[in-house]
């Protein structure tokens, strides 16, 4: 039981951070506006949660230009994907054992 609890990650314990990671698990890369549209949040709110995930090195930010327009996309790192997968497995385990 203790090992399950240790896999529950506090970084993901928020709707928006959980949402960002879920999206990046199944999409190679996603831009800011797409995340905003999916999670239905304000710019500032989304930016602060992205910053938190970036600080934990769970996602990387890629800045590039499409023509003359700057475009920022986000990707999950290997560490981020592994940690999130463990978090997900722990959630499932907790619910299974409690039933």
């Amino acid at each position: 039981m203790t090992s399950i609890i240790s896999d529950i990650n506090k970084t993901f314990d928020h709707r928006i951070r959980l949402g960002i990671m879920s999206v990046l698990m199944v999409n190679d890369s996603v831009d800011f506006n797409r995340l905003k549209e999916l999670l239905e949040v304000t710019d500032g709110n989304l930016a602060s949660h992205i910053k938190a995930l970036e600080t934990s090195e769970y996602i990387t930010i890629r800045k590039q230009f499409i023509g003359k327009k700057p475009n920022t996309t986000y990707e999950a790192t290997l560490l981020g994907k592994q940690t999130f997968a463990r978090h997900l497995a722990a959630l499932e385990q907790l619910i299974k054992t409690s039933k």
Binding site: S22, V23, V30, L91
Partner: protein
């Protein structure tokens, strides 16, 4: 004694609430993964209508079957009628698909044109346009009998490749078209019947199945 009971009660209460929270998190993850990677605004009704157009089109071609011979001329009225009918059926089907998808997305308050729908259309159109061009080349070379199996095969491939970005069951419909295409290539000359069954009957059944499964309840 009372203290320990109280403790057990709170322990129970808090673990119950924790579980509720985890369950909500799991559901949130699942819905976000699906919403962000699947184009789910396809409507079953557009499948039913596309099938109906195909059957009407096939009916028009069938009604002039006596005048169709293997040595049909490209400038004959019959040949032009067949080509115009086929193009009309395709354009109407695509337009219906687009209109009903926009409607369904609006109802769900979602944006239709996004990363996933672009990927869906890309994966759908690449095999479809390849097959279409190949069919035109076959006609120009006089291999009319192969046109029907080729269109069935490439349409099946379109569905299989696009299904990654939409309902997974779309893949099964794709497999049916591929099988029909292969069978048709063994029985050249029966293209119209394979077409009627594939584009007509299969579309209608599949559209009805999709409609009942995903749209009707909502």
């Amino acid at each position: 004694m009372a203290d320990s009971f109280l403790f057990i009660y709170f322990e129970f209460q808090s673990s119950f609430m924790e579980n509720e929270k985890y369950l909500a998190q799991l559901q949130e993850i699942q819905s976000m993964m699906q919403k962000s990677s699947k184009f789910l605004s396809l409507s079953g009704i557009s499948g039913i209508l596309a099938g109906t157009y195909a059957l009407i089109g096939a009916g028009i071609v069938y009604s002039m079957r006596e005048r169709l011979t293997s040595s049909i001329r490209f400038d004959s009225a019959e040949f032009i009628t067949i080509v115009v009918t086929a193009i009309l059926v395709m354009v109407l089907s695509l337009a219906t698909g687009i209109i009903f998808s926009i409607r369904k997305a609006r109802k769900k308050q979602e944006v239709v044109w996004n990363q996933v729908s672009r990927l869906f259309i890309m994966n759908f159109m690449v095999p479809l346009i390849t097959g279409g061009l190949f069919a035109i080349i076959l006609i120009s070379k006089g291999a009319i009998g192969l046109v029907s199996p080729v269109t069935l095969l490439f349409y099946g491939l379109s569905l299989v490749s696009a299904s990654r970005y939409s309902y997974e069951t779309l893949r099964n419909l794709g497999f049916i078209f591929i099988i029909l295409g292969l069978l048709n290539s063994l029985y050249i000359g029966y293209g119209l019947y394979f077409w009627m069954f594939g584009f007509g009957v299969c579309h209608i059944f599949y559209g009805a199945y999709m409609y009942l499964k995903y749209d009707y309840k909502k």
